[in-house]
């Protein structure tokens, strides 16, 4: 009897020890992806792209989260609540108490003031000042005329007041963009312009801590055990820098990475979606973004609205969507894509009618057709080249003789900035969920030149300003719907193409992956689950 008891006790002890050992040695949950560009820095004030680190290492006052495919909502982040004054100029944010930065410091209102003032400080040489240039005193600060920003104030340890020069409705949405991530003053200030250049020089409050950064190779983030929403399920997040799309695909197929972002190699979509194994592993979601062609009104023949309308009608967008993008998207007819607030499903449709286009071109004074150019960046993916070759063949029926002009990327952007780039194609995905992010970007007084549209329209500029300050939701929606009709139908200032789904392929061990609300290739992985 005694022997059997001893046996039971020993067995249970071994079992317990086994369980404990298994817990201690449980495999690390690692999520590995490939990204096609080396981030310049983890300092989100100093870069306009590659936000994978900021989206996982930092938090914002407000966060924009995916609530359903193609839908998003602004939810409390580092601020638990906020108030907006009646005149729409004063925003008061109440910070979450007890939030710790990765260096152990507690988040305070002074950190928020420091973060935004640092962005506007000319010594920082920040690239993202656009998100704050409407704050009271921002211009003086940027021009070096003031030692601090008048509109930024810490009312107490956990309350921040931001005063704007004039009402700016998209402000809350902008506060949720990665550029508005919050830094720790004590950590950041002494590092000056060295902040964000290494893993050791990076500090946020986010779910992951940047642990290692090997330039041009990979960077590794590890779970923040003290994250205020709870420790992330993933222990380690590795981002490999792989510039070659073929290599990226092979890394995925050999199991070395957990996620393949089809945006980095669109031509692989049919392979993956029709593959017996990978077809079941695709995850997709709508993108709050739009593919488009531009018209440069400073270059003939697009100074004539009839020519622009003719070109709009000469492109069979549906066919391109079907044949080139395998119908993974929907046609767009305006400036605002699906998923954007104030999206207008009743926007007038652009018809495909090459015969009518030919007549319009003749009416515009080009009965024998007209020569024109489409500029392409030689080094970027072949999708733009292929799409433009298809467009070239399509519009030829209406009389447009298109020359595809290959340009070096640096020359492309330098010429575009001067307002001298001929027609080009690109895509834009929302930085923040507001029509201003599309309208003002493309058709604002500076954007229209710097992006080589040259649609100089005082009427549009005035409406855009009004849209920024219109606080009545319904009136604002009507304003943008009218503006959309004016820009796309009346002025024919651009050719909207379509919004595409963003398709990813994941390894079977990835049990949950949330497509970011805007369809970016940069995303937070806090919700991601792996086996």
């Amino acid at each position: 009897m005694r022997k059997s008891r001893l046996f039971v006790v020993l067995s249970l002890s071994f079992l317990l020890a086994g369980i404990l050992a298994a817990g201690a040695f449980a495999a690390e949950k690692v999520f590995t992806i490939a990204y096609n560009e080396e981030p310049q820095t983890s300092d989100m004030q100093m870069t306009t792209s590659c936000y994978m680190i900021p989206m996982n290492v930092y938090d914002r006052l407000i966060e924009c989260v995916t609530t359903a495919p193609g839908k998003s909502a602004l939810v409390p982040g580092l601020a638990t609540k906020w108030e907006v004054s009646k005149d729409g100029k004063v925003y008061t944010f109440y910070l979450r108490k007890g939030v710790k930065f990765h260096n152990g410091e507690e988040l305070t209102a002074q950190d928020v003031v420091y973060t935004f003032d640092r962005m506007l400080d000319p010594k920082t040489k920040a690239l993202n000042t656009d998100i704050l240039d409407f704050v009271l005193g921002a211009k003086d600060r940027m021009e070096g005329k003031a030692a601090s920003t008048a509109g930024l104030k810490a009312l107490d340890r956990y309350t921040v007041r931001i005063t704007l020069e004039k009402p700016f409705v998209p402000f809350l949405a902008i506060m949720a963009s990665p550029q508005a991530s919050i830094l720790n003053e004590k950590f950041t200030r002494p590092l000056r312009n060295k902040y964000g250049l290494t893993a050791q020089a990076t500090c946020g409050t986010g779910p992951f801590i940047l642990k290692e950064w090997v330039l041009n190779d990979h960077h590794t983030m590890v779970a923040n055990p003290n994250y205020f929403r709870g420790r992330p399920q993933i222990d380690k997040f590795v981002v490999k820098i792989v510039t070659d799309p073929e290599t990226m695909r092979m890394l995925f197929e050999s199991g070395e990475i957990d996620l393949f972002d089809c945006d980095f190699a669109m031509s692989q979509i049919p392979y993956f979606t029709s593959h017996p194994k990978w077809g079941k592993q695709t995850v997709s979601g709508p993108r709050v973004g739009i593919y488009y062609y531009t018209f440069n009104q400073a270059i003939k023949p697009f100074d004539n609205v009839k020519v622009r309308k003719a070109f709009q009608m000469a492109v069979d967008r549906k066919l391109i969507l079907q044949k080139m993008f395998y119908n993974h998207g929907q046609l767009e007819n305006g400036v605002m894509p699906r998923g954007l607030i104030h999206y207008n499903p009743n926007q007038e449709k652009i018809e495909y009618n090459p015969e009518k286009a030919k007549k319009l071109l003749a009416e515009a004074g080009y009965p024998n057709g007209v020569d024109m150019e489409i500029a392409l960046v030689a080094s970027t993916g072949s999708q733009w080249q292929k799409m433009s070759e298809i467009v070239q063949a399509m519009v030829a029926k209406a009389g447009f003789r298109v020359t595809l002009k290959q340009m070096d990327e640096a020359a492309f952007y330098a010429t575009r900035k001067e307002g001298k780039l001929p027609m080009y194609t690109n895509k834009w995905s929302a930085d923040f969920n507001d029509p201003d992010n599309f309208f003002y970007t493309f058709f604002g007084p500076k954007g229209t030149v710097a992006r080589s549209y040259n649609n100089i329209s005082p009427e549009v500029f005035a409406a855009l300003e009004k849209g920024r300050s219109e606080t009545d939701f319904a009136k604002r929606g009507k304003l943008y719907a009218d503006l959309e009709k004016k820009i796309v139908i009346d002025q024919a200032a651009w050719l909207p193409m379509f919004s595409l789904k963003h398709i990813y392929v994941v390894q079977p061990r990835v049990k949950k992956f949330v497509v970011p609300w805007n369809g970016w290739s940069d995303f937070p992985i806090y919700e991601t689950r792996v086996e």
């Binding site: 190779d217 820098i241 290599t247 092979m250 640096a410 330098a414």
Partner: protein
């Protein structure tokens, strides 16, 4: 010999200055704005103008060039426009990776190329000769990006013997070293073969055979030493070339080396980084050529005497 080395090193100074002038001139002739390129789709003319002024990009080209040259003479190659980091540290951090890759590629080229060349020469027009020469012709002719993709597909995706890309441990070096070294191996094999065949026709080889020496001592004791002279020269130059940047191999296999830095710098119009990378690589090529000359002098005393 010391005088010879010093003379060669002094000649290299105007070469290096000339290279910086050419690079600077070329980058100023072609249109491109590094700040506009950094901002890409998020362009803002106000921000571009302000940041350009802060980075002194609006200064006259001649001022910027001499600022760079003055810094370079002090060992300071400036700061990368795009990466905001000192160019010297970026290059020195990347160089060990390029060095490891070049070293293994060179070793592969020598270990495979020299025996293949010897065997081909000894067994002239035989099956092994044809096989080895076919192998070397393939190595010389096949573009590196193609052989790299083939290797990745077969050995990483299908057989899963090796990792596809990256640079973490010794397993990551095998494929890129073979791919990169294959072309050099081909050149060395063909050169060894032709050189050995030429030497074997000499009278002293006939004499060695006539006095009854076995074929192996004839080849390794008499012929090989003399036939390797041009091969060693090529080997030294090849090492310099491999160190100067295996641009495509580094890109396809994701190796964070100097070649990849140079390509990124060209694409980003990152003048300080590109100038630094080119200056560094030019120095390596000059040193490689110098090493080849010195080696040659050691191997062939007649040259030293001349």
């Amino acid at each position: 010999m010391l005088k010879f080395i010093l003379k060669r090193l002094l000649i290299s100074i105007p070469i290096l200055i000339g290279v910086t002038v050419i690079i600077f001139f070329l980058l100023n002739v072609v249109p491109g704005d590094p700040v506009a390129l950094m901002m890409k789709e998020h362009i803002s003319v106000d921000v571009v103008a302000r940041v350009r002024a802060q980075m002194h990009l609006d200064d006259p080209a001649i001022v910027r060039y001499f600022r760079f040259l003055a810094g370079a003479l002090r060992g300071d190659l400036g700061e990368s426009y795009k990466l905001n980091r000192p160019v010297t540290s970026l290059i020195l951090n990347a160089f060990p990776n390029t060095f490891v890759l070049a070293l293994w590629a060179a070793l592969f080229a020598w270990v495979v190329g020299i025996p293949a060349g010897i065997l081909s020469a000894v067994k002239k027009y035989s099956l092994p000769d044809n096989l080895f020469m076919g192998f070397s012709l393939l190595g010389v002719s096949m573009p590196v990006f193609w052989s790299a993709l083939l290797f990745q597909y077969v050995f990483a995706v299908k057989l899963r013997w090796l990792p596809v890309a990256g640079f973490e441990d010794w397993r990551y070096v095998i494929m890129p070293a073979i791919v990169l070294g294959w072309s050099s191996a081909g050149i060395i094999a063909r050169l060894t073969r032709s050189s050995l065949l030429e030497v074997m026709r000499n009278d002293y080889i006939r004499t060695a055979r006539a006095k009854g020496l076995h074929e192996l001592p004839v080849i390794f004791g008499h012929a090989l030493k003399n036939s390797l002279l041009p091969v060693v020269t090529v080997m030294a130059i090849q090492v310099a070339g491999l160190l100067a940047g295996a641009v495509i191999t580094e890109s396809v296999f994701g190796i964070p080396g100097v070649g990849r830095i140079a390509v990124n710098a060209i694409q980003a119009r990152d003048m300080p980084l590109l100038q630094g990378a080119v200056l560094f690589e030019t120095t390596l090529v000059i040193l490689g050529n110098l090493a080849a000359d010195i080696l040659y002098a050691f191997l062939d005393p007649r040259i030293k005497a001349a």
